[in-house]
């Protein structure tokens, strides 16, 4: 790092809420012949929540682990509030909430939080204050003395989240924080995340639940095969992928071969015996169904809907299984 760039980074680090919390530039990582990341660039501003979506094996975890310094990229650069990834400054600014319940199961809730706080060398007074804040934030104050492994699944999730925030980071990386929790706990976790956002924390939110990304994220990046293939707000992603078009799904009875041939001839695709079409205007539905009747197909069910984030995701990444 040159002196001038160090100065620039320090200045950036001191700047206010409009500062770039996370800057990823042309990040690449290969494991032998496998491309985990290929030229990924991403910026997250302070106070912003960016969703990271992608199929299994798309490169999300490698990106997250690169940001927290657990993966050394082959090329590219990473900065957290101006600090190089892996540096002490970056570590103090970053909070990582892994998908796994990464806690010490045999010690209490409070002891877990205290341990993780100590790993960030927090002074005693600040540590106590932070632990108290975390317990309140995660609604675990009345469970502070409980052994962690005895907590319910939802409570463990919340403690897992709190343990990543005990050093009060300015940017938080959340890796599928709602996996395996009941709807009540999920709502509570959403509230926790929203309260974090209201305090100005930047968040990178990885999830497979599209509705979570739609609800929580200002911007969404879709990653596949190690590349960011789409990036923008929920609305802009839908608009860019589908324009004003709608999706029509129709189920027919009749010979499967005839249904498949007709679907292909009309530019659609057959998914689980259901024909799917993208139309520019709702007036196109009538002629489409008439054509089916002419082909001898008997309509059983038809749905017209506006595309959403899930439509975009499946449109861009395909429907093939990745595991």
């Amino acid at each position: 790092m040159t002196n001038s760039s160090a100065v620039t980074q320090s200045a950036t680090a001191r700047s206010g809420s409009t500062a770039i919390a996370l800057r990823v530039v042309s990040l690449s990582k290969h494991y032998g012949q496998i491309v985990a990341l290929e030229g990924v660039s991403l910026e997250v501003r302070a106070g912003e929540c960016v969703g990271l979506l992608g199929p299994n094996g798309a490169g999300k975890s490698t990106l997250i682990r690169s940001i927290v310094g657990r993966v050394v990229p082959d090329s590219g650069s990473l900065e957290v509030f101006g600090h190089a990834a892996g540096s002490a400054g970056a570590r103090m600014s970053l909070g990582w909430i892994p998908q796994e319940i990464a806690l010490y199961p045999r010690i209490t809730v409070r002891e877990n939080l205290t341990c993780f706080g100590r790993y960030f060398s927090l002074p005693r007074a600040k540590l106590n204050e932070s632990v108290a804040w975390c317990l309140k934030w995660a609604a675990l104050e009345d469970r502070a003395g409980e052994i962690s492994k005895n907590l319910s699944g939802g409570m463990k999730r919340r403690l897992n989240m709190a343990a990543g925030l005990v050093h009060r980071p300015r940017i938080v990386l959340m890796d599928e924080p709602t996996v395996g929790v009941d709807p009540q706990s999920r709502i509570r976790i959403f509230e926790m995340i929203e309260s974090l956002r209201s305090e100005g924390s930047a968040i990178v939110y990885t999830t497979h639940y599209m509705e979570e990304a739609e609800r929580l994220c200002d911007r969404i990046a879709i990653i596949d095969h190690g590349k960011i293939i789409a990036h923008g707000t929920n609305e802009s992603l839908v608009r860019d992928a589908f324009g004003q078009r709608s999706q029509v799904t129709a189920r027919f009875s009749g010979p499967a071969a005839a249904i498949a041939a007709w679907t292909q001839s009309r530019g659609g695709r057959l998914v689980d015996s259901t024909a799917e079409f993208t139309i520019e205007h709702s007036s196109q539905v009538g002629p489409l169904l008439e054509s089916a009747a002419t082909a001898g197909l008997v309509l059983e069910d038809v749905t017209i809907r506006q595309p959403n984030l899930e439509s975009v995701f499946l449109h861009l990444t395909g429907r093939e299984l990745r595991d």
């Binding site: 927290v68 570590r91 998908q99 806690l103 993780f116």
Partner: protein, 431 residues
């Protein structure tokens, strides 16, 4: 029934740890016990004995020569030279021989006193045979018996002239004096025996059965110079021997927490904080060292409370040996944990290694019972060095300065094991 059995066989085949424990461990143990107790001729343990000849008579020289030829004994008349080209140190004296036994250089020392040659043997309890002094270390109960037996045997095989002469004395005493002519003939026969004896430089006579304490033709005064005044003399040995073995198990189990943390993702989380891998391992090393030391303290305190082990008068030596032993076993545990990928692997490997180390390192039975090669192999284990150190402290009452080799080896082993563990742990550090 067969479906259930088939499933179990499939599971066993996939579970390498269980597979190793089922087959390799019993075979390894069988081999070790067979080697120790199998009575193999070329590996029978030889007893080390120091011999001091204060008499320097024909009889005493014959006796020393005879003992030296015994295949089951390793006789030393002087300490080992410091190096290959170093001058031979002066012969042992009664004082230096006793000090050497106390220091554990040999389990037995024989002091042939001045005047031994005058009355070397006796055939009845009332005889005036000059007794040889046998100094022994009670920690080795077998060595003095072997030496006693060899002593009586050598009296017959290496001192024929003396034996014949003594026989004549007894004949005269009980049957009447010889005539001058008989005396001449007897003297002639004795001279012939002496000539034959002086020419006899044949190979060692091999080991034989001893005749037992005090029942032989050579009178022996036995005196324990180590362990004689201890009520429960072997308590400290077993406290150290068993203690070290279980310390190794505890340390490897405790270090296995590293694998649990790696599996649960906690390790990743910790390493994303300000804690580096070196700090993490150092922290675990410190914790495991303290844990192991506290275990040792508890064990020796129990020995003091229940078995009257003389603990508090050896506190300084215990502390030194306890800390270095705890450090070495803690580093060993970390090394194993970092080398393994799963808890199951760690369980199998640690059980195998620790039991083998304990068997050949003296935690299960004293090393002096083992063949020489195995005694030397035992020095590759932490157990042997730790037990030797504790034995020096509690058994031989040696000062801390005498613990140099044990402290040095255990510290060095601990440092090397920790450095290797740190190197191997790089796989967790970055992807």
């Amino acid at each position: 029934m067969f479906s259930v059995a088939r499933t179990s066989f499939l599971a066993l085949r996939r579970d390498r740890a269980a597979f190793v424990l089922s087959f390799v461990l019993p075979i390894a143990f069988f081999s070790i016990f067979a080697a120790i107790f199998g009575g193999q001729h070329d590996t029978t343990p030889r007893v080390h004995a120091i011999v001091v000849d204060e008499d320097q008579s024909q009889a005493s020289r014959d006796l020393v020569r005879g003992l030296t030829r015994e295949g089951s004994l390793v006789v030393a008349t002087h300490p080992e030279p410091a190096g290959k080209n170093a001058p031979t140190p002066p012969d042992y004296t009664a004082t230096t021989a006793e000090a050497a036994v106390k220091a554990g250089d040999a389990p037995v020392a024989l002091i042939i006193p001045k005047g031994f040659g005058t009355n070397p043997v006796g055939f009845d309890p009332a005889s005036k045979a000059t007794p040889i002094e046998l100094l022994n270390d009670q920690s080795d109960a077998i060595a003095p018996q072997v030496v006693m037996g060899m002593l009586q045997k050598v009296a017959f095989t290496s001192m024929p002239a003396v034996m014949a002469q003594e026989g004549m004395k007894y004949t005269e005493r009980y049957l009447g004096e010889f005539t001058p002519q008989q005396r001449v003939q007897m003297q002639s026969a004795l001279d012939d025996i002496k000539k034959l004896q002086s020419r006899d430089e044949s190979a060692p006579t091999g080991s034989g059965q001893g005749s037992g304490f005090g029942a032989g033709v050579i009178a022996v005064d036995m005196r324990s110079v180590v362990g004689d005044n201890k009520k429960n003399s072997l308590i400290s040995f077993y406290a150290a021997a068993i203690g070290v073995m279980f310390l190794l198990f505890t340390a490897s189990g405790s270090a296995g927490a590293l694998l649990d943390e790696a599996e649960s993702g906690t390790l990743d989380r910790v390493l994303s904080s300000r804690v580096t891998m070196t700090r993490l391992l150092a922290g675990k090393l410190f914790y495991n060292t303290v844990l192991a030391f506290v275990q040792l303290v508890a064990m020796f305190l129990w020995g003091w409370a229940v078995f009257k082990l003389d603990f508090f008068s050896h506190l300084a030596g215990f502390t030194v040996m306890g800390i270095v032993t705890a450090f070495a076993v803690a580093a060993f545990g970390l090394f194993l944990a970092s080398a393994c990928h799963t808890r199951a692997q760690l369980g199998a490997l640690s059980t195998l290694l620790i039991l083998v180390m304990s068997a050949i390192g003296g935690s299960m039975f004293p090393r002096f019972l083992m063949p020489e090669a195995m005694q030397k192999a035992g020095l590759l284990t932490l157990n042997a060095w730790a037990i030797d150190g504790f034995t020096k402290v509690f058994w031989r009452n040696l000062p801390i300065s005498a613990l140099g080799p044990q402290v040095g080896v255990l510290l060095a082993a601990g440092i090397v094991l920790f450095l290797v563990a740190r190197r191997v742990a790089r796989r967790w550090e970055f992807a």
